[in-house]
Amino acid sequence: MAVTTAPAPPTARPKAKRASSNQRPMWWLLLPSLIPVIAFSVYPLLNGIWLGFTDARAGYQVPFAFNGVDNYQRLFHDVFFWDSFKIGLIWAFSVTVLQFLLSLGLALLLNAGLRFQWLIRPLALIPWAMPSVIVAILWKLIYLPDAGILNAFLRGIGLIDTNINWLGSFNLALPAVIVVGVWAGMPQTTIALLAGLQNTSMDLHEAAALDGAGAWQRFRTVTLPALKPVIIAITSLDFVWNFNSFGLVYVLTEGGPGRSTMLPMLFAYQSAFGSGEFGYAAALGNAMVVVIMAILGVYLWRQMREAN
């Protein structure tokens, strides 16, 4: 999750000629990492993709067989599948867009040389360090119908008369969990954008200001274009993370009420470990990959075309 704090990628250096003589022993150094990664990451992934084309079920040593596109035909006729992907896309798009807008605002403020940075900087990072289960509990306490502070506050300012069951209402649960998703993912996005802002050249800004460009104009013509690569990278990552998200919503609503927050991952988890349909769940996973790739592909292709 923490991709954005990675130390800056090292600049290319001219390769020393004799470095190649050192290459062979280097491979040995990779082995201790390579073996577990292949055994518990690469192999399971490939196996998982394959399971999506079988009728595998939970249970010890139950024989299973390749069944072609049966799983996908079933998916196609499964209302729950379409519902969960629709909910998943609504969730992933809204969280990603809101996260981006709010984080951009925060990053701009943090970059504006205001006071109280010591207060806001750690606050902006804390959600990142917290387990998703605890983030969910945090918000559950806020959303509680009777003991929750949100209803108490809204009653206090006279906006509502009766307590609202935020997470228990068919129409409100999804927006309510979207807010939590935005809160939880803001740190990475803010840091990435802030790092991007700090790399934009001040000279261009000053030149634009001298030419009489207003703040909004400078933002549009100088800041935004310079920030574009960072924006594309972080929104793509956010989208993938959000579409694949599980823990937050699982703890907040378990997909309820009435499946109104049943994200694809929750649905897949339920199919695999609730009803024991490993093959079908893996097929769901494959469908998720296809959807993500398709959306990312279109997004990146459009950005590239614009850049040319």
Binding site: A6, L45, G52, L125, P131, L138, I142, L144
Partner: protein, 277 residues
């Protein structure tokens, strides 16, 4: 580029809104944890406890399940941090100093592993662990966490290695130091802050993890803190909000503390001027 006073005021107002949005949930958790039992069930909750009380913490810590889950989490997180760092260290060195194709492949893998949903990985992992008899064991969990933390750990560490100039090693070699001595006396000490930061990252990622634990651990005696908390939320009514908040607060503390330390390390610790330029 002077900012107009009105704009400044607007900026501070916006900043205040962010402080409320980001900080408020934390404040509420804090306040809930320190409220007394009676106060928690009133219909008019207040922002701060009227009477600060440690009852919830007492109830939480009297619960042996809380202790055992914290202990399990600690064991798993420490083991993950140590093992991940140990196996990532040589690989990171090889990646940083080696041919660029290896780097490209590993970065490619890091990105690919982000795109694939966990459900595709977790089912085969579940089957493998079951066949190895490692379901419901902390060993199985550590195994998964190591692999799961590895890509990013590797990426972080190789960044730290790259920051150590090759010239330092070459100079040592010219002075007649063996390869091993160079690594031990020059590279390793310079890498220490990076190693600390990286292992702490692995610790946090294991401490916070939920999904794999949910799938692999069903035995209550083996559950980690996030599992316990998630179960708490599912089953308990509002009477237990206090202990729930208290346990959540206790569970968050290690991550927050460590995160605070890494933040500084990441910014300042990289290379405090052994070679300039």
């Amino acid at each position: 580029m002077r900012t107009r006073p009105l704009t400044r005021v607007g900026q501070y107002v916006a900043l205040a809104c962010y402080v409320v949005f980001l900080g408020f949930p934390l404040l509420w958790l804090f306040s809930t944890a320190f409220k007394s039992q009676q106060e928690l069930i009133t219909l008019h909750p207040t922002l701060f406890p009227r009477h600060w009380s440690l009852d919830s913490f007492r109830t939480a810590l009297d619960n042996t399940e809380v202790w055992s889950s914290l202990k399990n989490s600690l064991v798993v997180a420490v083991a993950t941090a140590i093992i991940t760092t140990l196996i990532a260290l040589p690989a990171a060195y090889a990646l940083a100093r080696g041919r660029s194709i290896v780097r490209t492949v590993s970065i490619g893998w890091i990105l690919v592993s982000q795109v694939f949903p966990f459900v595709l990985i977790v089912i085969p992992v579940f089957i493998v662990l079951r066949n190895l008899g490692l379901l419901n064991t902390l060993v199985g969990l550590v195994l998964i966490y190591v692999v799961w933390a590895l890509p990013f750990t590797l990426w972080m560490l190789q960044g730290y290695v790259t920051a150590i100039p090759r010239e330092l090693e070459e100079a040592a070699a010219t002075d007649g130091a063996s390869r091993f001595a160079t690594l031990r006396k020059i590279v390793f000490p310079l890498l220490m802050p990076g190693i600390v930061a990286t292992s702490m990252f692995a610790f946090i990622s294991a401490w916070n993890e939920f999904f794999f634990a949910l799938v692999i651990i069903t035995d209550p005696a083996k559950q980690t803190a996030p599992l316990l908390l998630a179960r708490y939320v599912g089953s308990e009514g509002s009477v237990n909000l206090g202990p729930l908040a208290a346990t959540a607060l206790i569970t968050t503390l290690p991550s927050l503390l460590i995160f605070g330390i890494i933040q500084r390390k990441l910014v300042a610790g990289l290379m405090s001027g052994s070679v300039k330029g």
